[in-house]
C-alpha cells in the first residue's frame, strides 16, 4: 500500500529542490565571469538567462513552499533525483542558447552527461565554442562529481538532519566525519587540494608542450575537472589526444584513478591510515580487474599488430582501459578507432572495464568495486560452505576502512544493484541493436552511458534517434544515482495519482 503524499510532503520537497537549483544557478556565475574576462558578451547574456531562470525557480519554490518541516528518507531521495532533473532542464539553457546544439534535447543530454560525469556529448562544432561555455561544461562535470547536492549542502542548507538524507539519495552514503556538513567539507578539502595540485601539474606540462600560458592554464583546469570527476569532457573535440605527450597522459591517469577512489579511502589515507591502500576491498578489486582487462586488450592488440612496439601498445591500451575502468572517458584514440583498429576483443575488454567501473562513494559510475569484491567473497564463501562439514559455520569478511562481516543483507543489496545495472546495460544494448547498430558497438556505447564513462565508438552522435538520446539520458541518471532515488521519484509520482489517502 502506498500512501498518497500530503500537502506538507510537496512543500518540503519543493523547498529543498528549489534550494539545490538555486545552488546550480549560483554556480553559473563562474562561467559568466570567465566569459566577461574574455569579452564574450553573447555568452555572458546566455549565462544571465541561465542564472535568472534557476533563481526564478529557486525563489519561486521558496515562496510557494513555505514550511519548517525537515526531510524524511523518501523526501531526501525524491529531492536528490528531482533536483537533478530540474537542474538538467535549466542548466541546459547556456548550451542551447549558444547555438551549438541541434535541439533542446541535445542540450539536456550534454548537461545530464556533465552532472553524471559521463562525458558523452552532442554539442556540435566544439572547437569553436566560447571559453565561458567550456568553463560551464567542465564546471558542471566537476560539480556533478562532488554531487550538486553536496555543494548545496555546504553552502545553502543550514545544518538540518534531513540534509544527510538528500546526500544519501545522491549515491554517497559514507559518513567520514560525525555530521554530514563536516563530511561535505572533508570531501571539498580532498577535491580542492587535488584541484590545485593537479591543475598546477597539468599547467606546467601544457606550457612546456607549447601552449600559451593562459590557454595552458584553462586547459589544465578543464582537463583536471574532466579527469578528477571521471567526467571525460575536454576543451577540444580531439579530447586528450590533443596534447600528444606521455607526461600529460601519465598525469591525467593519476588524476582520473585518484578521482575514482572512494572518498572514505581518500580520508583514511589522508588521516594516516596508509595501509588501507593495499588492504581495501575496492583498491584490490580495482587493481585486479584493471590488470585483467588490460591484459586481455594488450594481448589482443599485440596479436593484431595494431601498434608497432611495446611502448605504443602500453600507452594506448592502458590509457583507454584506465579511462574506461575509472569511468572517465578520456581518449587518446579516435572514437571510431575502437572499431577500426581495436576490433571486437578490444571493444569487449573495454566494455567489461566500464561495466565494473569505479569505487563506491566516488565521482565515478558503474557497478562499483565494492560490489564486485563483496560478490566475489560471497561466492567463495559458498564454495567453502559446500566443502565444509554441514555443522561448520563458514564466516567471511571484507575490509573497507574496517573489517566488515559478510552477511546476507550486504550480499543481497550488492546483488540487486548489480542486477539492476546489468539489466540497464542490456536494455541500452538491445535498443541500440534494434535501431540497426552493430550489437557490440551498441553494447559498448550503452554501457558507456549507463556506467557514466563517456567513451564512444561512434554510436553517439547528433544524428542518432531521439529515443536513444532519451534512453541514454535516463540511463545516465539512473546509473549515477544508483537507481533507488530515481525509483523513489517515480514512486512519488505514482503515489500522487493512485496512492491511498
Amino acid at each position: 500500500m502506498i500512501l498518497r503524499p500530503r500537502k506538507e510532503d510537496h512543500l518540503v520537497i519543493g523547498k529543498y529542490t528549489g534550494k539545490v537549483v538555486t545552488g546550480v544557478g549560483l554556480l553559473m556565475i563562474v562561467p559568466l565571469l570567465v566569459s566577461a574576462f574574455f569579452g564574450e558578451w553573447d555568452t555572458v547574456v546566455d549565462f544571465v538567462i541561465g542564472i535568472s531562470a534557476c533563481l526564478v525557480f529557486g525563489f519561486g519554490t521558496q515562496l510557494l513552499c513555505r514550511t519548517e518541516r525537515d526531510l524524511n528518507w523518501s523526501h531526501g531521495l525524491v529531492v536528490a533525483s528531482g533536483s537533478w532533473g530540474v537542474a538538467t532542464i535549466l542548466g541546459a539553457l547556456p548550451h542551447f542558447l549558444s547555438g551549438h546544439e541541434g535541439s533542446y534535447l541535445d542540450a539536456m543530454f550534454d548537461v545530464m552527461s556533465g552532472y553524471t560525469t559521463t562525458g558523452l556529448y552532442l554539442l556540435q562544432d566544439l572547437d569553436h565554442i566560447s571559453m565561458g561555455l567550456n568553463m560551464w561544461r567542465h564546471l558542471l562535470t566537476y560539480a556533478g562529481g562532488q554531487g550538486i547536492v553536496v555543494i548545496a549542502l555546504t553552502f545553502l542548507f543550514k545544518g538540518t538532519a534531513g540534509a544527510y538524507k538528500v546526500y544519501v539519495g545522491e549515491g554517497k552514503d559514507e559518513r567520514l566525519l560525525p555530521n554530514v556538513v563536516q563530511t561535505a567539507q572533508a570531501i571539498w578539502l580532498v577535491s580542492l587540494t587535488w584541484l590545485i595540485v593537479g591543475t598546477l601539474a597539468l599547467f606546467v606540462t601544457g606550457w612546456s608542450l607549447g601552449q600559451e600560458p593562459v590557454r595552458a592554464f584553462f586547459h589544465a583546469m578543464w582537463v583536471f575537472m574532466g579527469a578528477w570527476s571521471t567526467g571525460g569532457f575536454a576543451p577540444q573535440s580531439y579530447n586528450t589526444f590533443w596534447f600528444h605527450s606521455l607526461t600529460f597522459e601519465t598525469i591525467s591517469i593519476v588524476i582520473m584513478i585518484a578521482g575514482s577512489f572512494n572518498f572514505a579511502l581518500h580520508w583514511a589515507l589522508w588521516t594516516g591510515k596508509r595501509k588501507e591502500v593495499i588492504r581495501n576491498v575496492e583498491t584490490i578489486s580495482f587493481a585486479v580487474t584493471l590488470s585483467v582487462t588490460t591484459l586481455i586488450a594488450t594481448f589482443a592488440l599485440a596479436k593484431a599488430g595494431v601498434y608497432p612496439d611495446a611502448m605504443t601498445l602500453f600507452r594506448k591500451v592502458f590509457y583507454q582501459l584506465a579511462s574506461g575502468h575509472t569511468t572517465t572517458g578520456f581518449s587518446t584514440i579516435y572514437a571510431r578507432a575502437f572499431v577500426t583498429q581495436w576490433g571486437p576483443i578490444g571493444l569487449i575488454a573495454t566494455t567489461i572495464a566500464m561495466a565494473i567501473g569505479a569505487s563506491a562513494c566516488s565521482t565515478g559510475g558503474g557497478i562499483k568495486g565494492i560490489r564486485i569484491g563483496v560478490m566475489t567473497k560471497a561466492f567463495f564463501q559458498d564454495v567453502r560452505r559446500i566443502l565444509s562439514p554441514e555443522s561448520a559455520v563458514v564466516r567471511a569478511k571484507y575490509h573497507h576502512i574496517r573489517d566488515v562481516m559478510l552477511d546476507d543483507g550486504i550480499v543481497r543489496t550488492s546483488m540487486t544493484i548489480t542486477i539492476a545495472y546489468i539489466t540497464l546495460y542490456g536494455l541500452t544494448a538491445v535498443v541500440g541493436a534494434l535501431y540497426g547498430y552493430d550489437f557490440l558497438q551498441a553494447a559498448f556505447e550503452g554501457v558507456s552511458a549507463v556506467s557514466n564513462t563517456g567513451l564512444s565508438c561512434g554510436v553517439t552522435s547528433p544524428a542518432m534517434p531521439s529515443l536513444m538520446k532519451v534512453l541514454y539520458i535516463v540511463g545516465m541518471w539512473l546509473g549515477r544515482l544508483e537507481f533507488m532515488s530515481v525509483f523513489a521519484l517515480v514512486g512519488y509520482g505514482v503515489a500522487i495519482i493512485r496512492g491511498r489517502r
Partner: protein, 197 residues
C-alpha cells in the same frame, strides 16, 4: 486479465511503438563536405589502407600551434565548419573532425590565425605521410607533414549579442529579483512559516 496487467501491456506496446516510430534521424542542414580525397573520416575508417602512404590534407587550422623544439603539432579540421563556423552563422553539421599533424616549426609558423570562438582559422594544405599508429608518437594516428601552404587566410568571427536574448535576460533577472525580494519580505512578516509547521 485485471486492470494492472492491461495497463502494463499497454505500456509495453506504447513503448515498442515509440521505439520503432522514434527512429527518425534529424539530419543537420550543413552540406559542407571535406575538401580532401581521403577525408579525416575516411582515414579513421580505414587506417590500414592508408598507413604509410603520402596524402595531401586541407582544412582549418584549429586551436593553437604547439611548437616543440624544431617541430610543431597542429590540428587541421576538414569538417562542416572549415570554411565558416557556427558562431558566424553556419548551420550545424555534426561533430568536428580532423587530423593531428606533426611538421617542421618553420612551416607551422606560416599560420597566422587559428580557429576558436572568435576566429575562423586559416585554411591550410599540407603534404605528408599518414601513420595509422605512429611509432614516434605513442601510437597516435597522425600525419607527418613536410610542407604547408595557406589556401585562404582566416578572419575574426565576432558573435554579436542578440537583442531578443538580451531582453529575455533583463526580464528574467528582474523577475528573479522580485521573487527574492518578496521572499525576504514574507520572511520578515512571518508568512507561511507558522501555518504549515
Amino acid at each position: 486479465m485485471n486492470r494492472r496487467t492491461l495497463a502494463l501491456l499497454g505500456l509495453v506496446v506504447a513503448l515498442t511503438a515509440a521505439l520503432l516510430g522514434g527512429g527518425c534521424m534529424p539530419q543537420a542542414g550543413n552540406p559542407q563536405k571535406s575538401p580532401n580525397e581521403a577525408s579525416s573520416g575516411t582515414l579513421v575508417e580505414s587506417p590500414k589502407k592508408y598507413d604509410g602512404t603520402s596524402v595531401t590534407f586541407e582544412g582549418e587550422a584549429i586551436g593553437e600551434v604547439m611548437v616543440r623544439g624544431d617541430m610543431a603539432w597542429i590540428h587541421v579540421n576538414d569538417d562542416a565548419y572549415y570554411l565558416e563556423n557556427v558562431e558566424e552563422g553556419a548551420a550545424l553539421g555534426g561533430y568536428n573532425s580532423g587530423m593531428a599533424i606533426w611538421l617542421p616549426a618553420e612551416e607551422a609558423a606560416k599560420i597566422t590565425l587559428v580557429g576558436d570562438y572568435k576566429h575562423e582559422g586559416d585554411v591550410v594544405k599540407i603534404e605528408g605521410v599518414f601513420n595509422a599508429a605512429c611509432a614516434e608518437h605513442g601510437g597516435d594516428l597522425d600525419i607527418h607533414a613536410t610542407s604547408l601552404s595557406i589556401v585562404s587566410e582566416g578572419r575574426s568571427a565576432v558573435d554579436p549579442v542578440k537583442v531578443v536574448k538580451l531582453l529575455w535576460a533583463i526580464g528574467l533577472a528582474f523577475l528573479a529579483w522580485v521573487l527574492w525580494f518578496t521572499n525576504r519580505k514574507w520572511d520578515d512578516w512571518g508568512i507561511g512559516s507558522t501555518t504549515s509547521r
